[in-house]
């Protein structure tokens, strides 16, 4: 052996025992073997506290733990679920929400009006830095909790908020509360379906307005499933049926949300039947998926809208006809089928087809592929000799940007290059500094199914995602009038009129609508995905 001295032997023995200890143990518990539960793949959620959770993975997990006030029917109209009745005053400003009696949180606490008021106030309070906080900005008193910087982005800091309660939230009785908006909004009922509007139990707070330490790890909701154990970061979140649930009861007994760092790893598990549902088949596996999964490879519509924006501060893109000509030079169908293998569809409107008020082809002629017309229009209006499309290289956009550029080059006979930026944030910064970065690729996923959720953030003058700085007063006015209109139908009329301005002005080129491209194992059936790319937990069931 190595030596005769005892300490050397001891060292070897220690090394071996360390190894054995390291390699032994570990659970061999296979979640797929448990009866009537399903395993669904997600990415690690960033947060699970509803007001802070804005990514799609956390939305899926929260969907199993919570029950929303309203949900959407087949026509995308909001219907009461946890709420018994939601009524509104004639001027669409004061909304009264009456809750269904008998509902309890997973710790047995009854769900009351206070649970909503406390959760919403927590979410809106600026020092809590909640990612979904801005969703409360329609409620009166929001600005008291989020005072503005007096000199814009200047040296002075915004003052500390003086209160942590929004004046617009009022408790009427244990099961009723009223929400006063700072401006009339006829479609507020659709907004409160979003996950930031879930209630929190009293157990969530250690004192007024302070979330108890560790609450996020062992979340208590009001939904059909309760958390089993705690959030095992980067590994899994297990939920099981909550026996006292008073709403629609799902057919399955539980869900294991299995966390993947890489979508290809999830796909490998799906194909070898270790995973029941993968909600996004990665692009690299798209070509094999039909053969690997057969009938279990599925597509359904979702709310993704992809487009190219024109930085309108650049002189060469000031002319709307130039913008139209570039749009007409692109063959959207070809790219959707050749590059995306049918996992996206061509877009010819400025909002997604999943919202009420969508009109097929509202973009008009400008979104039809007609290379000769495009070239004539481009020449007549003196379009630039060189076109640049900037994209963030970390998002996997190279192939379609190159294809789009090839089409533009062929149709308009000008130079077209795809320019890479390392990250989305770099693109944003260059846009803010009004640097010449050419056209930019962008995308949008809705938060609630309303036309307004596309129009305002993407094209409104102060829209959160209007990175390219397009601004049109008539458009802004119409969107605002739409929001203030007395009925949802009247709102849609105004919003459609606003969309017509977009078709005239072409601040962006609509390119594609996204689709849920998902697959499931042989163990499950009735797998459906909704507009928000969430698995419908009330429909899915296990087979055999």
């Amino acid at each position: 052996m190595l030596g005769k001295r005892p300490w050397k032997m001891a060292a070897v023995a220690a090394a071996i025992s360390l190894l054995v200890a390291g390699c032994g143990g570990g659970d061999s518990e296979d979640p797929t073997n448990t009866a009537n539960t399903v395993v669904i793949g997600i990415a690690e959620p960033q947060h699970l506290l509803p007001t802070n959770a804005t990514d799609s993975s956390s939305a899926q997990v929260l969907n199993s733990l919570f029950y929303p006030l309203v949900s959407f029917d087949a026509e995308k109209k909001p219907v009461e679920i946890a709420a018994e009745k939601i009524s509104v005053t004639k001027n669409n400003r004061v909304w009264t929400i009456k809750l269904k009696p008998g509902f309890t949180f997973h710790n047995g606490e009854p769900v009351t009006a206070d649970n909503y008021i406390n959760a919403w106030n927590y979410g809106a309070y600026k020092p809590n830095a909640q990612g979904g906080g801005y969703f409360f900005d329609r409620i009166a008193g929001y600005t008291d909790l989020n005072p503005l910087d007096p000199d814009g982005d200047g040296p002075e800091k915004a003052p500390e908020p003086t209160t942590n309660k929004m004046s617009g939230l009022k408790k009427i009785d244990d099961l009723t509360f009223s929400v006063t908006l700072s401006a009339p909004f006829a479609s507020f009922k659709s907004v409160i379906a979003y996950s930031v509007f879930y209630p929190l139990p009293n157990a969530a707070f250690s004192s007024d307005g302070v979330i108890a330490k560790g609450f996020e790890e062992k979340l208590i909701g009001n939904g059909p499933f309760k958390m089993k154990g705690s959030w095992e970061h980067d590994d899994k979140i297990v939920v099981e049926k909550y026996a006292d649930f008073k709403g629609v009861v799902p057919k399955i007994d539980g869900v294991t949300w299995k966390i993947y760092g890489d979508q290809m790893a999830a796909y490998a598990d799906l194909v070898s039947n270790n995973l029941d549902v993968q909600t996004t088949i990665p692009t690299d596996a798209l070509a094999n998926a039909p053969a690997d999964l057969g009938e279990r490879f599925q597509k359904s519509e979702n709310s993704v809208f992809e487009f190219i924006g024109f930085p309108t501060f650049l002189p060469q893109y000031k002319n709307a006809n130039v913008r139209k000509a570039i749009s007409m030079a692109i063959n959207r169908e070809e790219i959707a089928s050749q590059i995306f293998l049918g996992s996206r569809t061509a877009a010819k409107s400025f909002v997604s087809p999943v919202v009420a008020g969508f009109r097929e082809g509202s973009c008009g002629e400008a979104c039809d592929y007609s290379p000769t017309k495009a070239r004539d229009l481009y020449r007549e209006n003196g379009g630039p000799e060189e076109i640049k499309i900037t994209y963030n290289v970390d998002g996997g956009h190279k192939s379609w940007v190159d294809a789009t550029c090839n089409q533009i080059r062929a149709s308009l006979q000008v130079k077209c290059i795809g320019e890479q930026e390392p990250k989305f944030a770099v693109m944003q910064e260059k846009l803010q500094n009004h640097q010449d970065i050419g056209l930019i690729r962008l995308g949008w996923i809705m938060d609630y199914p309303l036309m307004e959720n596309y129009l305002n953030p993407l094209y409104g003058t102060n829209g959160g995602s209007n990175y390219y700085g397009w601004s049109n007063t008539a458009f802004d006015t119409l969107v605002k009038q739409g929001s203030a209109a007395p009925t949802p139908e009247a709102s849609i009329k105004k919003w459609q009129a606003a969309e017509d301005i977009l078709a005239e002005e072409m601040p962006v080129i609509p390119l594609r609508y996204g689709q849920n491209v998902f697959g499931y194992s042989e163990r499950v059936a009735n797998v459906e995905m909704d507009l928000f790319s969430k698995v419908d937990l009330y429909e899915i069931e296990t087979v055999a």
């Binding site: 830095a129 290809m264 910064e429």
Partner: protein, 308 residues
Amino acid sequence: MFRYIVRRLLQMILTFFGATFVVFALMFANQDDPIQALAGEKPVSDSLREALTERYHLDEGFLGQYWHYMTNLLTGDLGESISGREISALLETAWPVTVRLALMALVIAGVLALAAGVWSAIRRGGVFDNGALAFTLLLLALPIVVLAPVAQWIFAMELDWFPATASRNASFYALLLPAIVLATTVVATQLRVTRTSVVENLGADYVRTARAKGLAPRRIIWVHVLRNSLIPLITLIGVDLGVLMSGALVTEEVFNIPGVGSKLAQGIRTEDGPMVVGFVSVLVIVFLVMNLVVDLLYAALDPRIRYE
């Protein structure tokens, strides 16, 4: 011996601070907008941006941020990642599985390299030796980014011999395929080094003497030759630890193992400075300790080596 260890430990402290400073500076230089990186392509509201900037001192410049980090570190607080999770908790959950994976890979590589290396050296020029040479060249030419997904596809998805992924509490069996893949990053050089050093020692005077004395060939090889041939291999294993850690970045991603490698990759993607520095600091310590252990092992193998 004791003084030597103390001196080495003091050097470690210096190395540790130097390394964290460099990593922190690199992360800072790479940082564009961590708040936006976290939000992906979603808009970040002004009030959220302001609150987060203040919480993580993002407006303070490099020295300010480094100062905040270091003062926290010296009080034993590793701080929070930008996504709001305790870095100490992240480290605690990520390390065990990576250590298991790396140890398994080291053992697999070590045993294979030793057995095949000695065999090649004894029968040098033979079929096995040439075969091993070709095989090691193939392994050296194949990067792990190719090898890992291919191994997963063939052995897990097509043949169904192994599970396709391994979780944090994976069994020995589930970790076997990733460990074998990881072992391939180091086994080739280890095998070549073992072979060369055994060949060299086989021609040494003391081996001839031992033969002349009529010692059994097996005893000559496994006791006399091997013991003297182990020093270069042990040195290499110490260095290989670094190779294994960089290989773990890929292996953990492909096999979905939530360990150090995948967390590091994630931290770099989201420009999460504190998290990357936290993980790298521990990596640095492990690396330093491993090399100290390696140096101390020399004395066990060769009594002529003494430390003052």
